[in-house]
């Protein structure tokens, strides 16, 4: 394909040993500790180092856009698609998924417990003018939240709707302190369950909830044709590793507080797969 052989080290070196792969990812991915399980086998395999930089979704993509990282792992499908469309990414692969849950105070003033539709739950919260704490930061979670509001009959706004512009952990804290609802990824909620007075009121697909609450993670290499300084070969090797049975096993075995956090997706029977194709190329040459 178009960018082969333009990796950082060039082709004249015997191997990749000693090289560094820079990964930008979202804080929620890094915070779970999954990467610390995933990376050692890969690093051992090639004698390389993976530098994982946890940023906001937007910043992670922005860093990759500037060519300061070699590979990106995020969970914001619309932004990922845009990144690919602009020709900045190569070889986007579905990696894994978990799900979102709607959490709120045990007293549940809006009465949404057990609802099977997130949109209905949001509408009920809006109707009751019960406090709702929004990430407000264009993260994957925030994007999802806005999508749900858009589908629901209600308009977010007014005194009860608070934008915090913070990470998930902080938002859970604020919701807990203010007796409000929020949309959270399951992993962060589970790891913080002990410290906040919040319970799951609407489940995600993992526990039988609606598919709208699914949270898929993707991984993309930065296009070496745009930034010739990126370590493309190693990025591709990394993506290959992540989507291999070995890494997918690591993902399905990874638990926090006795709960599985992520569900592998790369080895499904119908793998989702996007490839960047330079403009003007015929689609048959894409692979």
């Amino acid at each position: 394909s178009g960018g082969s052989g333009s990796g950082d080290g060039g082709g004249d070196r015997p191997g990749v040993a000693g090289e560094t792969l820079t990964l930008t990812t979202t804080t929620s991915t890094d915070d779970t500790g999954l990467l610390d399980e995933l990376h050692p086998p890969f690093e051992g395999m090639y004698g390389v180092t993976v530098d994982a930089v946890a940023q906001g979704t937007g910043a992670a993509l922005e860093t990759a856009r500037a060519g300061d990282s070699d590979v990106v792992m995020v969970h914001a499908r619309s932004l990922e698609d845009e990144f690919m469309r602009e020709g900045l990414g190569v070889n986007r692969r579905d990696l894994m998924f978990n799900d979102f849950v709607v959490v709120g105070p045990e007293s549940d003033p809006a009465g949404i417990e057990g609802m099977s539709s997130a949109t209905a739950a949001f509408a009920a919260i809006a109707n009751a003018s019960a406090p709702f704490v929004s990430r407000g930061d264009n993260s994957g979670t925030h994007t999802k939240e806005l999508a749900i509001w858009a589908q629901s009959s209600a308009e977010p706004g007014g005194d009860w709707y608070r934008e915090t512009g913070q990470g998930m952990g902080q938002v859970l804290n604020i919701a807990s302190e203010q007796g409000g609802y929020t949309l959270s990824d399951r992993g962060t909620y589970l790891s913080q369950r002990g410290e906040v007075d919040l319970v799951i009121l609407v489940q995600g697909p993992i526990e039988g909830g609606p598919d709208t609450l699914a949270n898929p993670y993707g991984v993309m290499a930065v296009n070496p044709a745009v930034h010739d300084s990126v370590n493309y070969d190693l990025a591709m090797a990394y993506i290959g590793y992540l989507t291999s049975p070995q890494a997918q096993d690591v993902i399905s075995n990874y638990e926090a507080n006795g709960k599985q956090l992520f569900f592998p997706r790369a080895l499904s029977e119908d793998p989702d797969f996007q490839q960047y194709v330079p403009e003007g190329w015929s689609s048959s040459e894409g692979r």
Partner: protein, 240 residues
Amino acid sequence: MMGPGLDTVLLGPLLVEFPFEATYVRSIISVSLYVSLIAVALSTLVSVPVAVLVGLSDFRGKGVLTSVINTGMGFPSVVVGLAVLFLVSNQGPLGALDLVFTKEAMVLSQFVLATPPVTAISLAAVTGVDRGVRDAAHALGGTRVDTALVVVKQARYGVATAVLAGFGRAISEVGSVLIVGGNIAGADGVSKTRTLTTAIQLEARQGRYGTAMVLGAVLVGLVLVVNAVVVRLGGRGVGG
């Protein structure tokens, strides 16, 4: 986060079309100034007397105390934020006052952060005041307060720098205000506890570096104005 402005295309790192409504920016500025100015005013009220007291007396352990005050200049803001959060959170000792995620809690944490630098720098300034002038203020019939006032006046340039350093620390700080304030803005774009720094951080996390820089420029401009006013007032004070 503000409806229409949001999707404005960024033209480049600094060549952005300003994507906010004026109310949003105005309300953020006013929260920033409110919190920082009140916190620094309180810090000054505490720090300058403490600096004078410590600076003018000799006692065992003065060196240790000075080290402790200086150490305060290195308090990590996140830790201060957490400590204040424990204090004001529902279960904390001040829980009943309902201060979590309010401007008042932010004032408290900024106060804790600004006080050490204001004290330490004032202390250095006060220590530099000529001993003879102190003696004169005392011997000519001054009370301890009179002497302290003379000393502060002699050290006014250093004390003003101390206050400005405290103000700089308070208004530029993001770690603690984020934690205790929560960076909350209403859906209508009116800031409740969002400051310029937390707004900048929010933009930066989203990779909207251009707008972050614009807000940063606003912040720096604001600080410049406050500094110019203080230097102006200080300059006038020299004659008196």
